[in-house]
């Protein structure tokens, strides 16, 4: 009885620790992301003055928060055992839904705040603005992803088809986000911002591979 109670206590402690570590990682990634536009100003920022500069910087912060949340979202969607044990499936699902809305909100804010200082009619369209156009595509994918999920629930659309499309879109978003990030701003030609991308996006991809591989091995062993 005491052994069982001790085991339960230890499990609860472990779950709390996991929670703390995971939340710490998320806050660390988000905090570093917020700090990057201050510590590593791109030359574009040099030529913005007053309110324009503030808007541009705020836009960059929103963009970096969007990427952080996209990575966290994809890990929540992956539902690794540790995450599920620490938070519980229902609360992960709640997080997934709320976070989706937050991601779209930050992405829209990012686009607006970046575009407003240059003029909303002066859009970066054309071959030489391909990184910006990838960003536009990403925004469209994010809105589609959330819109389709909302529509599935509202009109009870076929689950299997939704799930397949949802997964493919999620992968597209996860893979296109670092491309947009690395090429859209000179900030990412510097080491620390690049390390941030490698840590956040690379870490997410490595976790995906590890969890999927271990799941396959477990099935194979059975």
């Amino acid at each position: 009885m005491t052994d069982s109670r001790n085991r339960t206590k230890s499990t609860v402690r472990n779950h709390r620790l996991t929670k703390l570590i995971l939340l710490g990682l998320l806050l660390g990634a988000a905090g570093t992301g917020i700090a990057l536009p201050f510590a590593y100003e791109s030359t574009t920022m040099w030529y913005k003055i007053g309110l324009d500069k503030t808007l541009l910087r705020a836009g960059k912060i929103c963009g970096l928060l969007t990427v952080t949340l996209i990575c966290a979202q994809s890990l929540v969607g992956l539902r690794p055992k540790a995450l599920e044990q620490a938070f519980g499936a229902p609360s992960l699902l709640r997080w997934h839904r709320r976070s989706a809305a937050l991601i779209v909100l930050f992405a829209v804010l990012h686009a607006l705040l970046i575009l407003v200082p240059e003029g909303l009619k002066n859009l970066p369209i054309g071959y030489k603005f391909w990184p910006e156009m990838i960003g536009g595509g990403l925004l469209a994918l994010l809105v589609s992803q959330v819109g389709y999920s909302w529509a599935r629930e509202r009109w009870r659309l076929a689950y299997q088809r939704w799930r397949t499309i949802h997964r493919y879109l999620a992968w597209c978003i996860l893979l296109l986000a670092p491309v947009h990030l690395l090429f859209v701003s000179e900030m990412f030609s510097q080491t620390v911002p690049r390390l941030w991308v490698a840590g956040v996006v690379g870490g997410t991809l490595v976790t995906h591979l590890t969890v999927r591989l271990s799941r396959r091995l477990a099935v194979h062993r059975r």
Binding site: T43, T44, Y47, P117, E118, G119, K121, N122, P124, K128
Partner: protein
């Protein structure tokens, strides 16, 4: 019979009028776009940033023997500005400089051309920037007129000219980047044109 005479008279007048107009108009030349451009250079702190405009059109009527009927008309698309840095180009198109969305074209229309000697022609005209007209005079050197070495049946003429303009007088920028010592106000403009005409 009387009717026929009147028609003949009208036909003669029209023919004479058309041919005299053709004689009066200076020779029309077509801009050879791959070999023509409007380049500029502006100070950036210590260095010089160079650029040009990819999209422009124009009409050139030029005859050294008939300057009164010669003219230069150029329309430059502001959003085609190129300085080899995409973000800088976008900034130059913004309201901080050209405001390309509100004023997509810059144009020059000559009003008179005078011979300044030694193959130099003084071109006087109206330069419209951001919707405002400004008088502009600049020298254009006729590099020559000859048979085109590569295109049979065509003649080529070449013009080169340069001038320096104060961009702030043309409303290109409010002066904040000049006051900060970042972007100069004097812009060196270099016009280089090859124009073609059938022989």
């Amino acid at each position: 019979m009387k009717k026929y005479k009147i028609f003949t008279l009208i036909a003669v007048i029209v023919t004479l009028g058309t041919s005299s107009a053709a004689i009066a108009a200076a020779r029309q030349w077509e801009i050879d776009k791959p070999h023509a451009n409007f380049y500029f250079s502006v100070d950036h702190i210590y260095s010089k940033v160079r650029g040009h405009f990819d999209e422009f059109s124009g009409q050139v009527h030029f005859d050294p023997a008939n300057l009164a009927e010669s003219s230069f008309v150029f329309d430059i698309q502001v959003d085609s500005i190129t300085t080899a840095v995409a973000k800088r180009d976008k900034h130059l198109q913004s309201a901080d400089f050209f405001d390309a969305d509100s004023f997509p074209l810059m144009s020059f229309r000559s009003t008179s051309i005078t011979d300044a000697g030694n193959g130099v022609y003084q071109v006087n005209g109206t330069f419209t920037v951001k919707g405002a007209d400004h008088d502009l005079n600049f020298p254009l050197t006729l590099a020559g007129i000859k048979d085109h070495p590569a295109a049979e049946g065509k003649e080529v003429a070449g013009f080169n000219g340069s001038l320096t303009i104060d961009r702030l007088q043309y409303g290109v920028g409010t002066g904040k980047f000049y006051d900060l010592g970042i972007v100069g106000k004097d812009v060196e403009v270099f016009i280089s044109l090859e124009v073609l005409a059938d022989k």
